[in-house]
């Protein structure tokens, strides 16, 4: 369980990014953060694993107070938090396997990791994950040879290779085409659900948010202005989060998508993964 209270982030230059955020993600819960760019979504996600240092407030993960940890303890705590990035954040010149195995760096010593000598169970898990995301035959391909969707699959495998309790996801689909974006979201959500992880996902696509998550949190100018189920995300709520606009299409599709999700949309989703996008 992730509990955030009174979280404030002030960057040395520029305005206050977060102005007192309180948010709880229960174990096994999938929460989407939506809001305009600059609303503080990315900062909020990065404050949790302290890639960005919070200015004030408390963040507790399964009882551990993350903001109080020293450097060494923080590295330990980070092993429990997997992260998926917008631009994939792979190391281009490393192979797919090396990128996935880098998820274990918190557990393996410097020398062994430098020599690529990972424990057999780590390698086995990595192979299983690559099989699962449909990249088994790309094990030794260099990451920069893959297409955008394939690269994000490697990013997913790396995050899960950590065996985290919490998955932090930062705009996973905004560099992808709409079809690939849906496949990637579906894959992430499936993996999270079957492993019983918690997930906090920051996503600007309202349709994807309502399709795939159970709770929506709207952030505006560093404050939470909406919290509710996808069904509750009506035109009024959207206006509160994003400002005046014609929200007719979004709010209608939100209701339709959530209704849809109930009757077995998932069933046909394993198949297209390997064949979806061939390498460039």
């Amino acid at each position: 369980m992730l509990e955030i209270s009174g979280l404030v982030k002030r960057y040395p230059s520029g305005p206050q990014a977060l102005r007192g955020v309180d948010l709880t993600v229960k174990t096994g819960e999938l929460v989407a953060l939506i809001g305009t760019s600059g609303a503080g979504k990315s900062t909020l996600v990065r404050c949790i694993n302290r890639l960005v240092e919070p200015t004030e407030g408390k963040i507790r993960l399964d009882g551990t107070e993350l903001t109080a940890l020293d450097h060494r303890e923080l590295r330990h705590a980070r092993r429990n938090m997997g992260m998926i990035f917008q631009e994939y954040a792979l190391v281009d010149r490393l192979s797919v396997m090396e990128n996935v195995l880098s998820g274990r760096l918190g557990y393996v010593g410097v020398w062994k990791s430098a020599m690529r000598r990972f424990p057999p169970e780590d390698v086995r898990r990595a192979l299983e994950l690559l099989e699962r995301v449909g990249l088994r035959e790309y094990v030794d391909t260099r990451a920069d040879q893959l297409s955008g969707g394939q690269r994000q699959r490697v990013g997913i495998a790396r995050a899960l290779e950590q065996q985290p309790a919490l998955l932090l996801v930062d705009e996973p689909t905004s560099s992808l085409d709409p079809k690939t974006a849906r496949q990637i979201m579906r894959l992430i959500v499936e993996l999270v659900k079957e492993r019983g992880l918690s997930m906090l996902i920051n996503i600007h696509d309202v349709n994807l948010a309502t399709m795939f998550t159970e709770r929506i949190v709207g952030l505006q100018d560093g404050k939470i202005v909406f919290e509710g189920t996808p069904e509750e995300l009506n035109e009024e709520a959207l206006t509160k989060i994003y400002g005046e606009e014609d929200w007719h299409a979004e709010s209608r599709s939100a209701q339709a998508e959530t209704a849809d999700n109930g009757n077995g949309e998932k069933s046909d989703e394993h198949v297209p993964l390997n064949t979806a996008e061939p390498g460039r």
Binding site: H76, F85, A89, V91, R93, L94, L105, A114, G155
Partner: protein, 268 residues
Amino acid sequence: MSDHVNAEQLWSKPPVIENRWLRWGITLVVLVYAFFAIRSFEIDIPRIIIGLDRGYDMLLAFLRPDFVARQTHIVRGVLESVAMTATATLLGGILSIPLSFGAARNLSPLPVYLVCRSILMIVRSLHVVVLAILFVVMVGFGPFAGAVTLGFNSIGFLGKLLAEDIENTNEESMEAVRATGGSWLQVVIYAVWPQVVTRFIGLSIYRLDINFRQSTVIGLVGAGGIGAVLDTAMGRYDYNTAAAILIVIIAIVLAGEYVSSSIRRRLT
């Protein structure tokens, strides 16, 4: 536009210096200084005439290079230069790596950064010939002084360029490795090094090239190698041998440049 003479000029390029007095003033100062500077050289016309003769002799000798008379010296000189070049590049390369990580602002805290940057700056500010004179005094004549000189020079070159490359690495990849719980050293090994290693190899091969060329120059001030053999030949007015040495140097430099650029092109 038929009437050139009376055509009204609508536009002309504005002068670089707007103020007309300043513009002509600067021109005048430059010309006057050039006049007096040339006057100060005490040009000795009879000496130039003798010199032209000598230059003509030298030119003739260069048309008849003599590879044979001092063959063993030439071969030994080349081998010395190659040995100097290789050891200098290897040592310089190895030593430049930690310095470059220290001199990259995105990896190192400010004090470490400043120390490493200063070391690189000082090393780079000394010209290779000045360094050579210094090391010849310190360790004596010969190729060892040359190897140390070139090694030192390589550290400055490789260290600075590698540091700049490290500062340009993808920040998100570093974040990703940090987010898994990796240590500073693991971030360097997994996220930074793979991004700069091919560039480092390319720079080292390029440096190998430069080091050989410079080994011929520093030989003239006593740091061994083929340059020393060339210096001796010139001192003895043995222009035929000198010509042979120059041809050997040019051939090796061209071959080295070809090989190094074709290898570097293949690195991705």
